[in-house]
């Protein structure tokens, strides 16, 4: 019995040490990606190509989700606000929920599942099929040529996707409350215009999505590059990208929100 307990404690110890090692490797890898980013900016066409794959191809899911989230927000907001006769404030509710929280967070979660997983799988498969080794043997650094352009493409795409999510969300809210339910159009837009502050709400939302973009793509490229070169290794890495990204987004969101919105205004 004591032997079994010792083995269990040892196993826990190993897992903790392994996790810390992995965290260290991830931090070193992130620093390496930043160091090797010169190529990405000197040959920006590499980044543009990846923006197409991670950004443009994510547009459909982001736009459609944004529209539906906005429509639901409008519906739920109207349902509650009309009890207090404040249905004209539904525009404010929709816009603030979207630009402060739902836009950046939902877009980042969708981005992690659509583009993050694709980046991990692609880099992982390139490793498993020796394409990264072949590149290194051709004296071309895979981190500079493959990883850094994908990282920057994700970082650039994320805030733009979040902004589009919010825009479509506001439109969805407008569609449901003004067009379908019949809330006054003037009060819908003017209440929104009065309540939403550019610096306090919109800029903070963009800052959030920038942080999420860095977190999601850093996790995605690291998981791909660190994946064991087997089918199970790549599938495990893809799953980890989605799970870790989701946790990182929600954790970061709390931290950022507590710094940005403290109820003083």
């Amino acid at each position: 019995m004591p032997k079994r307990i010792i083995t269990s404690i040892q196993a826990i110890g190993h897992r903790v040490i392994d996790s810390i090692w992995r965290l260290g490797r991830a931090a070193r890898f992130f620093a390496l990606v930043l160091l090797k980013s010169t190529t990405s900016f000197l040959r920006f066409s590499l980044v543009i190509r990846e923006i197409y794959f991670v950004g443009v191809l994510s547009l459909i899911i982001i736009l459609v989700s944004g529209l539906f989230v906005g429509m639901v927000l409008g519906l739920q907001g109207y349902e509650t606000l009309q009890k207090y006769g404040s249905e004209s404030a539904v525009g404010t509710l929709v816009a603030l929920s979207l630009v402060r929280e739902l836009g950046p967070v939902m877009a980042a979660l969708l981005f992690a599942s659509r583009a993050g997983s694709a980046i991990t799988a692609e880099i992982g498969l390139m490793k498993a099929t020796e394409q990264l080794s072949a590149m290194a043997m051709m004296a071309v650094d895979p981190v500079a040529r493959v990883v850094a352009p994908r990282f920057w493409a994700g970082v650039i795409s994320m805030p733009l996707l979040a902004a589009l999510f919010s825009v479509l969300g506001v439109f969805g809210g407008y569609l449901v409350t003004v067009i379908f339910i019949g809330v006054d159009e003037g009060s819908f837009w003017s209440s929104m215009q009065n309540a939403v502050d550019f610096r306090y709400d919109i800029v903070n939302g963009v800052i959030k999505s920038c942080f999420f973009g860095v977190a999601v793509t850093a996790i995605a490229v690291f998981e791909g590059f660190d994946a064991p070169p087997t089918a199970e290794g790549v599938s495990g890495a893809t799953t980890r990208t989605v799970v870790t990204s989701a946790l990182a987004i929600l954790g970061l969101d709390f931290v950022l929100t507590s710094f940005m919105f403290r109820g003083v205004d």
Binding site: L125, M126, T129, E130, Q131, S133, A134, M135, A136, M137, M138, A139, V140, D141, R145
Partner: protein, 269 residues
């Protein structure tokens, strides 16, 4: 006689505590095709990775063109690698690029040649491997033999001084196998480079190479010209060349005594 292109001296390497290579010595002259043979897990591919500087030895050194590979800085190592080519077991073509772009990859990365000249160079390299007409295909559309020929064209794109082939004959039909073998010989002679072929395929290699090294248990078990190898009576070489089931390389993986494993004594005592 000119200095050898590659000199390997007392080379040792181990993964964690498991020794893979122990005191390997080799010299590889320029313009020759050299085969490295040995059973699976004998350290052949590890040797290629040491020559390419992907991993570092725990003792000894590999010199390529008079430069000790593991002591080079990353920039200097990449400079040496520009003069090397490597053909991976299954080609390792970039799956998101066409055949043309795969061959052009290294030229575009390392030179500032105009696109018209790159086009001519790529078509010449593809012509050398007989696949000029397939320049527009994607890697997924190629057969195993064709993929390896494209990879061969890609590895000679910058006219290297050395090409390393990691099991180039694996999984090929007899025609493709013979084509790849002949291409290795022909390109080596035409470009004046050195080729190192890591392989299991005894018959095809003995047909095209100038010299053979046999690796077993991390050391060079035998070496010689193809003729010497064919006539060798050394037990290991004989077993390997003739594909005999048992010999110095045993059929059985080391295990407990058979009877003990089947617990015959316990059951029938």
């Amino acid at each position: 006689m000119s200095a050898p292109l590659i000199e390997i001296k007392d080379l040792a390497f181990s993964y964690n505590t498991r020794p893979i290579l122990r005191s390997v010595n080799m010299t590889m002259p320029r313009g020759k095709v050299i085969a490295i043979m040995g059973g699976s897990g004998s350290g052949k591919t590890t040797l290629l990775r040491l020559i390419g500087g992907e991993i570092k030895p725990i003792a000894g050194y590999v010199k390529v063109a008079d430069q000790v590979v593991h002591k080079l800085s990353r920039n200097d190592l990449f400079k040496v690698r520009r003069k090397m080519g490597m053909l991976f077991q299954f080609g390792a073509l970039f799956t998101d690029l066409s055949v043309f772009d795969n061959v052009a990859f290294q030229i575009r990365e390392h030179t500032n040649l105009p696109e018209s000249m790159i086009r001519d160079l790529v078509l010449m390299k593809l012509h050398a491997v007989g696949l000029r007409g397939a320049y527009h295909l994607m890697p997924a559309e190629l057969s195993g033999g064709m993929a390896r020929r494209v990879a061969l064209a890609r590895s000679i794109a910058l006219d290297p001084m050395l090409i390393m082939y990691d099991e180039p004959f694996t999984g090929l039909d007899p025609i493709s196998l013979s084509v790849i073998g002949s291409l290795i010989r022909r390109l080596t002679d035409a470009l004046g480079m050195t080729s190192i072929v890591v392989t299991h395929d005894v018959q095809e290699s003995l047909r095209i190479v100038d010299y053979v090294y046999f690796l077993a248990d991390g050391v060079i078990a035998a070496h010689g010209t193809p003729q010497e190898v064919k006539e060798s009576v050394a037990p290991f070489v004989h077993q390997f060349v003739h594909g005999e089931e048992d010999g110095p390389v045993p059929f059985h993986y080391p295990a407990e005594a058979y009877q003990e494993d089947l617990r015959l004594e316990t059951h029938f005592a």
